[in-house]
C-alpha cells in the first residue's frame, strides 16, 4: 500500500470513531467540567472582581458582575489604613524560614535515607508517613503547651519550628523517591573524581533533583503560607499575626465586615501562591510523577 492510501485509511478509521454516542459522551463530560469549574471559580471571581468595586456596588441589586466603576481605592486603603502589609511581612518571614529549614533538613535526611542502610530504616520511614496523617487540629493543644514551656508563644520562631517539623516528613518522602531514581554509581563516580559526600550531594544529586525540589518546595510554601489554625492559637497577637489570622480579623461579627477591604486583602494574600505556582509549574508536573517515568 502507498503512504497516501495508508493515511487515507487511518483518517477514515479516525472519522468513523465520531459516532453519535461519542459526541454525546464528550459533550456531557465537557458540561460536567464547566459546572465544576464554575463552582470552584465563582467565589474566587466574585472576590477578585468585587475587590475593584465601590462598597455600595458589592451589594447592589441587581448585582453586577463586571465592576461599573473600576477602582483601585480598596487596595490603596487596605495598604495604607490596615495592618495587612505587616501581616504579609510576618507571613513572608515565617514562610521563608520554614522553606529554607524544611528543604535543607528534609533533602539531607532524604539523601541519607536513600543512600545508607541502617537499622529500623523502613520503620522510621513509615512512622514519618503516619505522623503526616495526623491533622494539625489534633496536635494543637500539645503545640500550645510546648510553645508555652519554651516561651515561644506569640513568636515567629515558634511558628517556624512547628511548620518545619510538620513539613519535613513529606519533604523526605518526596525527595527520597527522587534520589532513589538516580543510580548510586553517579555518587561513586563523583567520589572517585574527588568529591566529598557533601559535594556529591550538592554538585551532583541536588541539581539533578530540581523537579522534586520544586515540588516539595511548592507544597511546603503553600502549607506554610496558608496555615490558619496553628497561628490562630500559637501566635495571634497583632504584632506577630500572619496573613491568615489577620485576614480573619477583616471579617467582623454580624454585618460589620468591610467587604470591599476583605476582598482586596484576600486577593493580595492569595496572589503569592499563584505566582509561586507559576514559577514552580514548569518542574511541578514532572516532580509529582517522577516515580512513573525513568
Amino acid at each position: 500500500m502507498t503512504d497516501l492510501a495508508q493515511s487515507a485509511v487511518t483518517r477514515n478509521r479516525r472519522n468513523s470513531r465520531w459516532t453519535t454516542g461519542r459526541i454525546v459522551e464528550t459533550a456531557l463530560s465537557y458540561l460536567a467540567f464547566a459546572v465544576v469549574a464554575t463552582i470552584v471559580l465563582f467565589p474566587l471571581t466574585w472576590v477578585l472582581l468585587g475587590s475593584f468595586k465601590n462598597p455600595s456596588e458589592i451589594f447592589a441589586y441587581p448585582p453586577t458582575i463586571w465592576p461599573r466603576d473600576f477602582t483601585w481605592t480598596n487596595y490603596a486603603d487596605v495598604i495604607r489604613r490596615t495592618d495587612l502589609p505587616k501581616y504579609l511581612l510576618n507571613t513572608t518571614i515565617v514562610t521563608a524560614f520554614t522553606l529554607v529549614f524544611t528543604l535543607a533538613i528534609g533533602t539531607v535526611a532524604a539523601y541519607g535515607f536513600s543512600r545508607w542502610r541502617f537499622p529500623f530504616k523502613q520503620t522510621i520511614l513509615v512512622t514519618l508517613l503516619v505522623l503526616q496523617l495526623i491533622p494539625s487540629a489534633v496536635n494543637i493543644v500539645p503545640y500550645y503547651v510546648m510553645m508555652s514551656w519554651l516561651g515561644l508563644l506569640n513568636t515567629h520562631v515558634g511558628l517556624i519550628l512547628i511548620y518545619t517539623a510538620t513539613h519535613i516528613p513529606f519533604t523526605i518522602w518526596i525527595m527520597k523517591g527522587f534520589f532513589d531514581t538516580l543510580p548510586e554509581s553517579l555518587d561513586e563516580a563523583a567520589i572517585i573524581d574527588g568529591c566529598s559526600r557533601f559535594r556529591v550531594f550538592w554538585n551532583i544529586i541536588l541539581p539533578l533533583s530540581l523537579p522534586g525540589l520544586s515540588a516539595a518546595g511548592f507544597l511546603t510554601f503553600l502549607a506554610a503560607w496558608s496555615e490558619f489554625l496553628v497561628p490562630l492559637v500559637i501566635a495571634n497577637s497583632r504584632e506577630v499575626a500572619v496573613m491568615s489570622v489577620g485576614l480573619y480579623n477583616f471579617f467582623g461579627i454580624d454585618s460589620n465586615t468591610a467587604y470591599h477591604y476583605a476582598f482586596a486583602a484576600s486577593v493580595m494574600s492569595t496572589a503569592p501562591i499563584v505566582i509561586a505556582y507559576l514559577f514552580a509549574q514548569e518542574y511541578l508536573v514532572s516532580g509529582l510523577t517522577s516515580g512513573s517515568e525513568k
Binding site: 561513586e188 563516580a189 573524581d193 574527588g194 539533578l208
Partner: protein
C-alpha cells in the same frame, strides 16, 4: 603507573562471606581481565581496589602504598562503570574535566588536558553536548575519557562493554586494547564474557564463588586449564566433558565412557581411575579409526560447521573446518586428537 597487589583479601556482607582469601598481583602496565560467572565477586573485588567497598580482611597495595584506609580519590585510580555514570547535567567537557576541577587545576590546564584526551578518543566535536545527546558508544567513550584525563596509576573497568550491541562491543574491544598499548597504564578489566577476556587481556584471573581458580595468559588457560571449572568456562563452544574410567587395553590406556565407548588417551594413568575426559570441539576430527556417533544437529556457520553428536548416552560437540553434509540420524566416526586431551580427577576436579 604502578602494580596492584592483593594479599589475603576477604569480604563479608554481614555474616555472608563473598570473597574467600584472594592473593593476586597485577603487574605494572599489565592488562588483566577478571572473569567469572555472575555473582562470583568480580565487582566486589574491583570496588575494594577502588575504595568503594570496605576490605574486611587483607591488604591492598597500589605501588608501594598500602591503600586499605585511603579514600578513593587518594588512591590515584580511575574507574569506568557499567552504566557509565556520566553526570547528566554536565557537558562532555565538564564531565571529563570534573576531577581536575575538584583537584584545583587551573582552567587553562584543564581545557588543554580535556582536549588532548578528546582527540585520542575522537570526541572533539562532542565536547559541548550533554550525555543524553550521545549514542551508547559515544557515552562509553566519554566515560573512558573521564578516566584517562586524570592520568591515574590504575584503570578499573567494570563490564564497560556490556551495554553495547554486539558489533560495537567488538570494535570497542579493539579500541580499548589499542588505547592500553598507547597509555600503558595498569588496567583491571572485569567481565563475565570470556571471549572479551581472551581477546583483550595480557593475563586472565578466573574467579568462581569468591575464589581465584586460575591465573594465566589466555593461551595457558586455554591449553592447560587447572581444573574442571576453568576448562568449562574458557573456550567457546565450551569443552566436552565426559565421565568414565581409565582401562588398560592391549598395553595401552584407553578411556571408557559410562556408555561403554572407548576413546584414546596419551597420559599414563593407572587403570581403574575415575576421571573426567575433556576435549574441545575443535579437537575432534572425522576419521575412519574413530568411534561411531550419531548426528543430532548440524549447524553450518560458513567458515566452520558445528555438529552435535550422541555418543552412547552423552552429547558431544564437534567443530569442523570442513563442510559436513551429514543429516541428523546419520552415523559418523569421530576421533579426539590424542595430544589435546584433558583429564581431570572426578572427585576433586583437578587436572591430572
Amino acid at each position: 603507573m604502578a602494580e596492584v597487589r592483593l594479599s589475603q583479601i576477604e569480604k563479608f556482607y554481614g555474616a555472608v562471606k563473598v570473597i574467600h582469601g584472594i592473593d593476586a598481583v597485577f603487574e605494572d602496565g599489565e592488562f588483566v581481565a577478571l572473569v567469572g560467572p555472575s555473582g562470583c565477586g568480580k565487582s566486589t573485588l574491583l570496588r575494594m581496589i577502588a575504595g568503594l567497598e570496605e576490605i574486611t580482611v587483607g591488604d591492598i597495595y597500589i605501588g608501594e602504598k598500602l591503600v586499605n584506609d585511603l579514600a578513593p580519590k587518594a588512591r590515584d585510580i580511575a574507574m569506568v562503570f557499567q552504566n557509565y555514570a556520566l553526570y547528566p547535567h554536565m557537558t562532555v567537557a565538564d564531565n571529563m574535566g570534573f576531577s581536575l576541577k575538584l583537584s584545583g587545576e587551573p582552567k587553562q590546564n584543564r581545557d588543554r588536558r580535556v582536549n588532548e584526551v578528546a582527540e585520542i578518543l575522537g570526541l572533539q566535536d562532542l565536547l559541548g553536548r550533554y550525555p543524553r545527546q550521545l549514542s551508547g558508544g559515544q557515552r562509553q567513550r566519554v566515560a573512558m575519557g573521564r578516566a584517562i584525563v586524570r592520568d591515574p596509576q590504575v584503570f578499573l573497568f567494570d563490564e564497560p562493554l556490556s551495554n553495547l550491541d554486539a558489533k560495537l562491543r567488538i570494535s570497542m574491544r579493539g579500541e580499548i586494547k589499542q588505547l592500553h598499548q598507547r597509555l600503558k597504564t595498569t588496567t583491571i578489566f572485569v567481565t563475565h564474557d570470556q571471549i572479551e577476556a581472551m581477546t583483550m587481556a595480557d593475563r586472565i584471573v578466573v574467579m568462581n564463588d569468591g575464589r581465584v581458580e586460575q591465573v594465566g595468559t589466555p593461551i595457558e588457560l586455554f591449553d592447560r586449564p587447572k581444573n574442571l571449572f576453568v576448562a568449562e568456562f574458557i573456550g567457546s563452544p565450551s569443552m566436552n566433558l565426559l565421565s568414565g574410567k581409565i582401562e588398560k587395553s592391549a598395553s595401552k590406556n584407553v578411556f571408557r565412557t559410562a556408555g561403554g565407548e572407548s576413546l584414546p588417551v596419551m597420559q599414563s594413568l593407572s587403570a581403574g581411575d575415575e576421571v573426567v575426559y575433556g576435549v574441545r570441539p575443535e579437537h575432534l576430527t572425522l576419521s575412519r579409526t574413530g568411534v561411531e556417533a550419531e548426528v543430532i544437529i548440524v549447524e553450518p556457520t560458513g567458515s566452520e560447521t558445528q555438529v552435535v553428536f550422541a555418543l552412547g548416552t552423552e552429547k558431544i560437540v564437534g567443530l569442523f573446518r570442513e563442510r559436513v553434509t551429514a543429516q541428523p540420524g546419520d552415523l559418523l566416526k569421530i576421533l579426539p586428537d590424542p595430544d589435546q586431551i584433558h583429564l581431570f580427577d572426578r572427585a576433586t576436579g583437578d587436572r591430572l
